[in-house]
């Protein structure tokens, strides 16, 4: 931005090069009408109930027309230009928005294709700028796939060209990996194994929600999602007696079908999300492509990686399976905060990825320090409350109240047991924090990623001579900050001093 004379003519040149989104975007808008038309359902229902059947079809047509016109106007008023060192986007029908994104500030370009978009050969391009908040990131939804890839290549080339000049370290880093290198891929067989461990009864919740939803909606008095209705039908044919007579078999059948459902949905979810999973090392980033229906193509700039998180499960740990997530400045899609770069692999496959981001995994012989058992206090207090509440309810004659003490005992035992698994270790250049029994999670946090350190103590920790360290790290979820709970105050002070004296990483 320093040489205004150079950038101004470039802008003037770019004036006629305004581009529109791909016309097939309108087709996407039509597809998006599907879920949107649910908003219309109450209106149509109201028309129907008041007997104005004549107006139902015109109302639907008017709705379609208005929606399509709105989409058309939005398409008409959305234009963008890719300049020599910036992207300019203008959008909005009534309130206009003009946004300029310099290439220097674009951390990365992600490309996402849904099922319809793949059929149409278009893709949604997202610019990650590292600015906080979703509304600060710009999208081009959608342009032709080859144009999207060309755009990404342009921006990448700009960034690497600029970075090659000042830093000699970049040159050494680029030397061993001149071309893209496959780091990790998942075969269908691996996906199947991963899916088996991904056992999930979430599908049941969907069925339950469907039951609730269709119950009030269907005109006839039979809901295929409602087992009671099926029992009624069975009764009509005197099947009920048969089922009652063989209820043991029926229960076993129910459990088996539940298990099948859980495994099937776990495998299906794994296949949809991670089909053709590929993690490659590019000169400056780790690039991940995956997905069966919705293909996503995301790159995590290596220098933006703040911490690595290895997650596993109680059972899958027994079989040696782990998952690797990287905490970066940008967030992974709309739901996930951390980038899942290895969904399911042996530690041997995870290590090369960790090496790429210059993070080291503690070895098997690592001596871990433990947090004080006081970390179980919260759970124990909760358990006591549950017990007292349950006992009061039980003494008032509510038999369900006995759940309170039982649940209290379980919670107390769980938190006391879990407290033994809060561990940490200082590995010199980074801190490793472990926690959890059921879902063990190891956070590998380089000292250089730490922006600020809180040393917290309260009226419970202080008499015990303990303190909690909380680290301010860029990226990740604001709800789950990295912390080492309840360690001796002197240790905490030492660790804080050591971490803060670490130099910036980049």
């Amino acid at each position: 931005m320093s040489d205004a004379s150079a950038t101004l003519p470039a802008l003037a040149d770019s004036e006629p090069r305004w581009q529109r989104l791909h016309p097939a975007t309108l087709a996407l808008a039509i597809v998006a009408l599907g879920p949107k038309s649910f908003n219309l359902l109450p209106a149509v229902a109201a028309l129907g109930f008041t007997g104005n059947w004549v107006y139902v079809v015109p109302a639907i047509l008017a709705f379609l027309l208005i929606s399509l016109l709105a989409a058309w106007f939005q398409w008409l008023r959305f234009r963008f230009v890719v300049g020599d060192d910036e992207v300019v986007i203008e959008s909005g029908v009534f309130s206009r928005q003009h946004r300029t994104i310099p290439f220097d500030r674009i951390q990365d370009v992600s490309i996402e294709q849904g099922l319809v978009a793949r059929a149409l050969g278009i893709a949604k391009v997202g610019f990650e700028t590292g600015a906080g908040g979703k509304e600060n990131d710009a999208d081009l939804n959608a342009i032709a796939l080859d144009a999207a890839q060309a755009l990404r290549t342009t921006i990448r080339a700009h960034r690497s060209g600029e970075a090659a000049a000042p830093a000699a370290t970049d040159a050494t880093q680029m030397a061993p990996a001149p071309e893209d290198r496959l780091l990790f891929a998942m075969s269908p067989r691996q996906l199947l194994v991963a899916g088996l461990f991904n056992f999930s009864l979430a599908a049941l919740a969907v069925v339950g929600a469907g039951m609730q939803f269709f119950d009030g909606l269907l005109p006839f008095d039979f809901n295929i999602f409602n087992p009671v209705d099926w029992i009624d039908v069975a009764d009509d044919y005197e099947l009920g007696d048969w089922v009652y007579a063989h209820r043991g078999i029926a229960a076993a059948g129910g459990i088996v079908s539940l298990l099948l459902l859980g495994f099937a949905s776990g495998i299906a979810m794994m296949f949809f999300a991670n089909w053709d999973f590929r993690l490659t090392r590019e000169p400056r980033a780790l690039r991940r492509t995956r997905g069966l229906t919705t293909r996503t193509d995301v790159a995590v700039p290596v220098k933006r990686v703040q911490a690595a998180i290895i997650v596993t499960g109680w059972l899958r740990q027994r079989f040696g399976w782990h998952e690797l997530r990287l905490q970066s400045l940008a967030s992974d899609g709309e739901k996930e905060r951390d980038h899942q770069v290895v969904p399911f692999a042996r530690l041997g496959d995870i290590d090369p990825v960790l090496t790429e981001v210059a993070i080291m995994r503690p070895g098997a012989g690592q001596v871990w320090q433990h947090s004080h058992h006081i970390v179980a206090l919260g759970g124990v207090i909760g358990a006591i409350c549950a017990t007292i509440g349950g006992l009061i309810a039980a003494s008032l004659g509510q038999p369900l109240g006995w759940f309170g003490p039982v649940a209290g005992l379980l919670i107390a035992a769980g938190s006391l047991f879990g407290a033994r698994f809060h561990r940490w270790a200082d590995l010199g250049e980074q801190v490793a924090i472990r926690r959890g029994v059921w879902k063990p999670k190891t956070t590998l946090l380089p000292h250089a990623s730490v922006q600020s350190v809180d040393l917290k103590s309260d009226f419970i920790l202080r008499p015990l001579g303990l303190a909690t360290l909380v680290f301010g790290v860029p990226g990740g979820s604001s709800l789950a900050s990295h912390e080492i709970p309840a360690i001796p105050v002197a240790t905490a002070h030492d660790l804080r001093t050591r971490i803060l004296t670490a130099r910036t990483r980049r």
Partner: protein, 176 residues
């Protein structure tokens, strides 16, 4: 950071004990007045509300009229008179050795250190009550998700400006 924490901070009710034990500077005592007025502005409407509730409802149902009013005003008075100065004495800061240290609270004490190198930008702010007493607050922004803003209130306006300059110089020298 050369401070060795005392095994146990001494008498918690001695106003300067905590900061002295941890090697921190106290904030400006005038900040107690700012807190007091802010607390009063919050609590007096609540107390008035409680009185109105008492007069309209409790008297109507012939309950113990006057109890809620008395309690509300008593609690408000105690909170306004005694708590602010105690809260102010729990705030402490230290600037130097390339880092800003801010500590606050007693029951739940948080002691934050932000190295100057990690500061993204700095705000110096002044509310109407603060302006009255010639105070400012300093806000340091970091790129961390946790602690993205670290606030240090109760600084004399000149001191806040001087601290901002100190931090700003460090940011510049480290990027040069």
């Amino acid at each position: 950071m050369t401070d060795t924490p005392a095994a146990h901070p001494t008498d918690p009710f001695a106003p300067d004990a905590l900061n002295a034990a941890e090697g921190l500077n106290p904030v400006n005592p005038a900040y107690a007045q700012v807190l007091r007025i802010a607390t009063a502005l919050n609590l007096i409407p609540l107390a008035i509300g409680a009185s109105v509730f008492d007069a309209l409802l409790i008297r109507h149902i012939e309950g113990p009229y006057g109890l809620i009013t008395a309690l509300a005003w008593l609690i408000a008075a105690i909170t306004i008179v005694s708590f602010p100065s105690r809260r102010v004495s729990r705030w402490g800061y230290r600037i130097g050795e390339g880092q800003l240290r801010v500590a606050r609270g007693w029951l739940f004490r948080t002691d934050t250190i932000v190295p100057f190198v990690r500061v993204q930008h700095i705000d110096v702010g002044q509310g109407p009550i603060e302006r009255w007493f010639g105070l400012s607050h300093l806000v340091v922004h970091t790129s961390g998700t946790h602690n993205s803003m670290v606030t240090l209130p109760g600084l004399h306006a000149d001191l806040a400006a001087a601290m901002r300059e100190t931090i700003r110089r460090h940011i510049q020298t480290d990027f040069a």
